[in-house]
């Protein structure tokens, strides 16, 4: 098996992009990724493509969603959908194919159009899910974990809010973030209630966006850069609350499983991770993810964020980009953008949000839900500065 490196990354500013179509966004992200390759790349050097999208706007239900905006015809392209882990799953699939030798240079493109009507397309999908899921909405699914985590471990409302404060602080310094404001704990707990115990500032916004990553095998990576970032490990797993596992009431078991697979493949442990971009669709998700990834002990997530360990200048910075809470969550683009952010961090090119601990290993994580909000899927990718 060959080693695989990220050699280029591009994205667009996330936001409410009514004036842009799915193809407009994908094209811009692709062009930015081409521009990012140190020694340049010709589009015809790309062997294969993976498109990550949930296709909410209905413009990308096959590989054509990648070929049309990028001109990448006549090569194999797969569309990947894996709930909110769509982008990270597309990256994982591309890495595995290049590792196995079926392509030398591959494009991973994540794109999602979440806004094309006043309510947002996601609102229509949510209505349908509400019926089928007996009234279980996204904030409810995650809020259940918050209520139980507070009950079981004494986690406070203020500790949960600290995640939002941190990520908005980081997002205010990150040029591609949807929201650029800062807030304090008081603002979070005073914001309108969505689903007790979660308030508006505990929830990520509805955001359009696209991101593109170019990867290459060890055989050709040197042609494109002297500073490749290596795909060191990856994991993917699924679980369901309805399996009756009590630990699933306060955690996302699939994350622990995916993380262990990724750590094993990279031959490292959670203590070796220097920077992480994790799934914070809601504040509680990130707090629980510290525990699921092994960054702290079960039940200590609240204390972990309160002590500042996960801040930009902390020992284990999490979501320097502002995370989904500030940056937004265009489903297919989210994971690809996170990969790009870790790539920038490991190359020392993250600008105002560059972490200061000379990062060697970075982790990217998504969690997705499905089956009437009872199941979960998790994908974890580890990138490394050294091969």
């Amino acid at each position: 098996m060959r080693d695989v490196a990220v050699i280029g990354a591009g994205m667009i500013e996330f936001g409410e992009l009514y004036e842009q179509s799915t193809d407009d966004m994908a094209e811009a992200a692709f062009l930015n990724a081409l521009d990012d390759v140190d020694y340049g790349i010709s589009p015809d050097e790309i062997d294969a493509g993976w498109l990550g999208t949930s296709n909410i706007a209905g413009d990308a239900n096959s590989g054509l969603g990648l070929a049309h905006p990028t001109g990448q015809f006549e090569i194999p392209i797969m569309r990947v959908e894996n709930a909110c882990a769509t982008g990270s799953s597309a990256f994982r699939a591309a890495v595995e194919a290049v590792r196995a030798g079926s392509a030398d240079v591959a494009l991973v493109l994540g794109v999602e159009k979440m806004h094309d009507s006043a309510e947002g397309l996601i609102a229509n999908a949510a209505l349908d899910q509400v019926w089928r899921g007996r009234g279980v909405t996204m904030p409810a699914f995650f809020g259940m974990r918050a209520t139980r985590h507070m009950h079981e471990f004494g986690t406070t409302r203020e500790q949960i809010a600290e995640v939002s404060v941190k990520n908005h602080e980081n997002g205010s310094k990150y040029p591609y973030a949807h929201y650029q404001f800062t807030c304090d704990v008081e603002d979070v707990v005073q914001s309108p209630q969505v689903t007790y115990p979660l308030q508006l500032y505990d929830c990520c916004p509805v955001t359009d966006g696209a991101a593109a990553t170019i990867i290459a095998s060890e055989d050709v990576a040197d042609n494109y850069t002297d500073d490749p970032i290596w795909a060191a490990g990856s994991g993917l797993s699924t679980d369901s609350l309805l399996r009756g596992n009590d630990s699933a009431l306060v955690g996302f078991e699939a994350t622990t499983q995916a993380a262990n697979q990724a750590y094993d493949q990279a031959n490292i442990g959670p203590e070796d991770i220097d920077v992480a971009e994790v799934h914070d669709c809601f504040t509680i998700t990130e707090l629980i993810t510290y525990e699921d990834l092994g960054f702290c002990e079960k039940g200590e997530g609240g204390q972990f964020v309160e002590e500042g360990t996960v801040h930009l200048d902390g020992e284990k910075p999490v979501n320097p980009s502002g995370g989904l809470l500030a940056k937004g969550h265009p489903i297919g683009a989210t994971g690809v953008a996170q990969i790009n952010e870790i790539y920038e961090q490991l190359r020392g090119e993250a600008g105002a949000v560059q972490v200061g601990n000379d990062p060697q290993y970075g982790l990217q994580h998504n969690i997705g839900i499905g089956r009437n909000a009872t199941g979960s899927v998790s994908c974890v990718n580890v990138l490394s500065r050294e091969r």
């Binding site: 509400v130 899921g133 009234g135 279980v136 409810a140 259940m144 309108p192 009756g244 009431l249």
Partner: protein
């Protein structure tokens, strides 16, 4: 259209019928297939009935929902014991006739057959939860 899933789920929704795995005791509800989610194997199942009184394991109170729903709307994940011995089933349940402040983890709640909503004029019946009579 969601009519077919509704018809398939009627024994579970309207009669609280579950299946218990003969090998490991896992209770499948509302699903009832040949493969057990815990054994991960094709197993024998016994049909079991669930009690109408369950225990709240966690909950939320939904305040922002489509117009079709009255808010604030409490929603919980509950364990519903079998009528005889064995493990409980874990279910999601909407609450009705219940003040949000009255809900807490560990409390018991009773399942009551209600019209959940209608799809194109077709009423869909299932259970909702409420505080036991005498505690309201």
């Amino acid at each position: 259209m969601h009519e077919p899933p509704h018809w398939r789920d009627r024994p579970q929704n309207e009669r609280l019928l579950a299946r218990e795995c003969r090998t490991c005791g896992y209770v499948s509800f509302p699903e009832h297939r040949r493969i057990c989610k815990r054994c991960q194997d094709e197993v024998e199942w016994d049909e079991v009935r669930l009690q109408e009184r369950g225990t709240v394991r966690s909950y939320v109170v939904q305040n922002r929902l489509p117009d079709e729903f009255e808010t604030p709307l409490p929603l919980a994940v509950l364990d519903m014991p079998q009528e005889t011995d064995g493990e409980p089933a874990r279910v999601y349940g909407l609450f009705t006739e219940t003040e949000p402040d009255d809900i807490e983890i560990g409390m018991v709640a009773d399942a009551d057959l209600r019209q959940l909503f209608d799809i194109n004029g077709l009423p869909v019946h299932s259970f909702k939860f409420k505080l036991p009579r005498g505690e309201r």
